[in-house]
Symmetry: C2
Subunit: 194 residues, 2 copies
DNA sequence: TATTTTCGCTAACAACTGTTAGTAAACAAT
DNA sequence: ATTGTTTACTAACAGTTGTTAGCGAAAATA
């Protein structure tokens, strides 16, 4: 059994699906349209996926994995809350900018997941956000950040970060690191006690 | 001809459509489902709208109007760029928080508009963003804001502001004005020269 | 080489999609 | 009272949706 080839076709489908879902939105892309782009018939998908939704699930949970894995490597390196936050932002931006299509699906089309997968997804997202919340709380407790509402601050940070997939251009004037640096500056200077 | 009643039914449809589109996404709501909630048959919509898309169009362009009208009243009152920006943010947040359903449709479902309406919509959005861009540029030129990339700054501001519809709760601990105040503080302190 | 598994195809399904035609009741205007 | 208009209905359309069944060729395993 050539596991390689199976994985390759499955990955190819995921890649094309990401691209099409991003372009038109999950609900607006039919299996037949997807099939055309892959170069197979719609029915052949079911040798690789159980359903259309399971493609969406794959994309969303892969991204969740990427976010977690990338963040994990970072949070143990630094000690100071503002430095940790800076690194965490950098990690987050790196994941988004190296998967813009998947990011768009992750941020927009997760809502088309049905239960119980939907709850699973939201739980993951909550956990991830909580890591940031903890960093911020620590910064406030240690007097490095100004005492603002945590939830509010986390929401605002994520909204700035998560919008990057929309406008990031690999050929544009900002590298992912520069974007992270600018966002960190904008956000951290707004939070820091002065 | 009782124009009143016509307008009322049309408004009722728009209101329910906003709510359902927000809940499930435009493409996931069928005319029959919408009809059930209004209490009519799907075919009866066509006495009030030409198409499903024209309901979406109505919602999106109404919101655009609200944003423009609200902003216009503000920008002539103040003179200093940071004060103008503060007022503009307040105006923007006020529009979002008093139309959360419509905002969700405005920010998420506009992409399902088809040409030429889509281009019309994007042009409006561009115009609106440009007003903010001008304010920021003036602030930078006058040395009130730090010299950062304008486009980048505008994108970041809007991403924080436009996410508010997602989490704003009329019964929550923040009033729209408090949200605007906090966002202004976070953003402006990040931008201001120190 | 023989056998099993993988992966593609065609054909078809039942349900659902937005929308139109035709019609009748309710309503407003004359 | 008689128009004309608005608004709802039923029935149906043509097309699309995700998905399954059944089949054959190719590929991997033995």
């Amino acid at each position: 059994m050539s596991k390689d080839k199976t994985i390759k076709r499955k990955d190819q489908i995921t890649l094309i699906a990401q691209n099409k879902f991003r372009e038109k939105g999950y609900r607006a892309v039919s299996m037949r349209e997807l099939a055309d782009h892959v170069g197979i018939e719609a029915a052949s998908f079911y040798n690789h996926f159980n359903s259309k939704e399971s493609i969406l699930k794959e994309i969303c949970f892969r991204m969740a994995d990427e976010f977690f894995n990338s963040l994990e490597k970072v949070t143990h390196d630094e000690k100071l809350p503002d430095k940790i936050l800076e690194k965490a932002i950098q990690s987050h931006i790196k994941v988004i900018t190296s998967n813009t299509d998947a990011s768009a699906v992750f941020f927009l089309d997760w809502r088309y997941l049905s239960e119980p997968v939907l709850s699973e997804f939201l739980e993951l997202r909550r956990k991830y956000e909580n890591i940031f919340r903890k960093i911020i709380k620590e910064g406030m407790d240690k007097g490095i950040f100004e005492k603002l509402d945590e939830t509010f601050t986390v929401l605002t940070i994520f909204s700035s970060l998560n919008w990057v997939y929309e406008w990031y251009d690999p050929k544009g004037k900002f590298t992912p690191d520069q974007i992270a640096e600018n966002l960190s500056k904008l956000i951290l200077d707004g939070m820091r006690k002065q």
